[in-house]
């Protein structure tokens, strides 16, 4: 069994429980043991807007806690993936940042070597675990589904820091979906941002941004949208807000990749937290046997 540390970040731990449930359920089935990073905190993403050093410090502190328990770290959140990857990059290239943070860590008896590898769920599953291992584990192929994927921004850009997939033509999430037996489509707005980092500053209007993709996919006609970030998920799944703010008849199932994976591995929908999705996921589950 392969084991690695898992860093959840704020959104999953405090509200996006279905992402956590579905990852915790499915990974052992694929021979992966997740070890929680204890006493972790926010990844530092929010602090980017107010204090760059503090943001890097928070990220490195989390990484040093992870390095105590594993050589590899998995984070399921796009925002956390960028924060942690960027901080690791700074740690490696900026001598002054490194020595300042090292001394702050010492006060807590923490030590960071900087040798940890940071994965997002998408490149971990696609590159490290591999498509074959996933498709071999499928007991309930999702043959009837035509799905769109939303890779999100922070596993693609800035491409000199994060390189989970090709920044202009990301295909990994699509290939992961196809490994479960479903079909994926290409669509013009695939690279569009969900608007999520604006959610707290613009609690209503930020949904205008996510509405665009949902309405586009409704026009194209797909069985659902597959997401791999808790913030993107919230922006697309909250379709009561999308309808109120942007008009339209948004009614598109939105699922986490790990939920879809769980269905293909034979888990029951509620075990994967599908009852917690607010979008009409029964439209999707009714097309497959589960």
């Amino acid at each position: 069994m392969k084991s690695l540390a898992v860093y959840w970040g704020c959104y999953i731990l405090t509200s996006q429980y279905q992402y956590e449930l579905s990852l915790r359920e499915t990974m052992p089935k694929l021979g992966v043991k997740l070890i929680d990073v204890e006493e972790a905190t926010c990844c530092g993403f929010l602090l980017e807007s107010i204090d760059k050093f503090a943001s890097t410090y928070l990220a490195i502190r989390n990484l040093s806690l992870a390095e105590k328990i594993s050589k590899d770290l998995l984070t399921p959140c796009n925002g956390c993936y960028l924060s942690l990857s960027e901080a690791l990059h700074r740690w490696r290239v900026e001598e002054s940042t490194r020595s300042k943070i090292a001394s702050l860590l010492r006060d807590e008896n923490l030590f960071f070597k900087g040798e940890l590898r940071v994965y997002h769920a998408v490149n971990f599953l696609h590159d490290s675990l591999g498509l074959r291992k996933i498709s071999e584990a499928v007991v309930n192929p999702l043959n009837n589904l035509k799905l769109a994927t939303h890779p999100g921004c922070h596993i693609l850009r800035p491409s000199e820091i994060v390189s989970a997939d090709d920044p202009e033509n990301p295909r990994k999430l699509d290939e992961l979906v196809e490994a479960l037996g479903a079909e994926t489509i290409n669509y013009p707005g695939k690279l569009d941002c969900c608007g999520g980092p604006l959610l707290s500053l613009q609690p209503e209007k930020s949904y205008l941004i996510s509405s665009r993709k949902i309405n586009e996919l409704e026009r194209i006609g797909v069985d659902g949208l597959v997401v791999s970030c808790p913030i993107c998920f919230k922006m697309f799944d909250s379709q009561d807000v999308i309808r109120r703010v942007a008009g339209g008849k948004a009614s598109l199932p939105v699922v986490y990749y790990t939920q879809l994976l769980g269905l293909a591995l034979g888990f029951k929908p509620d075990t994967l937290g599908l009852n917690l999705n607010q979008s009409p996921v029964e439209k999707l589950t009714s097309k497959i046997s589960c």
């Binding site: 972790a40 602090l47 980017e48 410090y57 921004c153 500053l201 613009q202 209007k205």
Partner: protein
């Protein structure tokens, strides 16, 4: 000689431009106004954010106007402008730098950001643990979903972070 923006009558402040330019990791003077950043900006249609204008106002030294402007705070942090700029300018990095300067100087401190920071200083995360609802309106939380509790970081660490951010009592 100073430059005056004829539309707003604002005056360029050379010292501020020099300061921002020194802090910026990428040189925004290289911008040749191709407009690619604004063409692909996530926030242009709903929030009228035009990153090439931010870059060129900084270039002209109209930094005060930027520091007090709301446009800095409607960027979705999608990084598209930085990725696609042929001159490696990164309007995104400039916007974040200006946000930090606006915040530090107290010119703009948006409440949602302050609340997030307060929360980090309280329990380590930007949010508190929430009760969620299923589509059938049943209530769930971590405990009822059999998810492990979230360990709180040590008081010592939180205190250190708070001193460090200079956002303690009254600030």
């Amino acid at each position: 000689m100073s430059l005056t923006d004829l539309m707003s009558s604002s005056k360029a402040v050379k010292d501020l431009k020099i300061k921002i330019k020194r802090l910026a990791e990428k040189n925004f003077d290289y911008c040749f106004i191709c407009g690619k950043c604004t063409g692909g900006c996530t926030s242009i249609s709903y929030f009228r954010l035009e990153p090439h204008k931010v870059v060129n106002m900084a270039k002209l030294g109209l930094v005060n106007e930027l520091l007090t402007s709301d446009v800095l705070w409607v960027c979705t942090q999608c990084h598209k402008c930085a990725e696609r700029c042929p001159q490696k300018v990164s309007p995104y990095d400039l916007i974040m730098l200006l946000r930090r300067e606006a915040f530090k100087s107290g010119l703009k401190r948006p409440t949602p950001i302050l609340l997030g920071v307060r929360n980090i200083l309280k329990n380590g995360f930007i949010l508190d643990e929430q009760t969620v609802f299923s589509r059938d309106l049943d209530e769930f939380n971590r405990e009822t979903l059999s998810l492990p509790g979230i360990p709180k970081p040590s008081e010592k660490f939180l205190k250190k972070l708070s001193d460090f951010l200079g956002l303690g009592e009254g600030k």
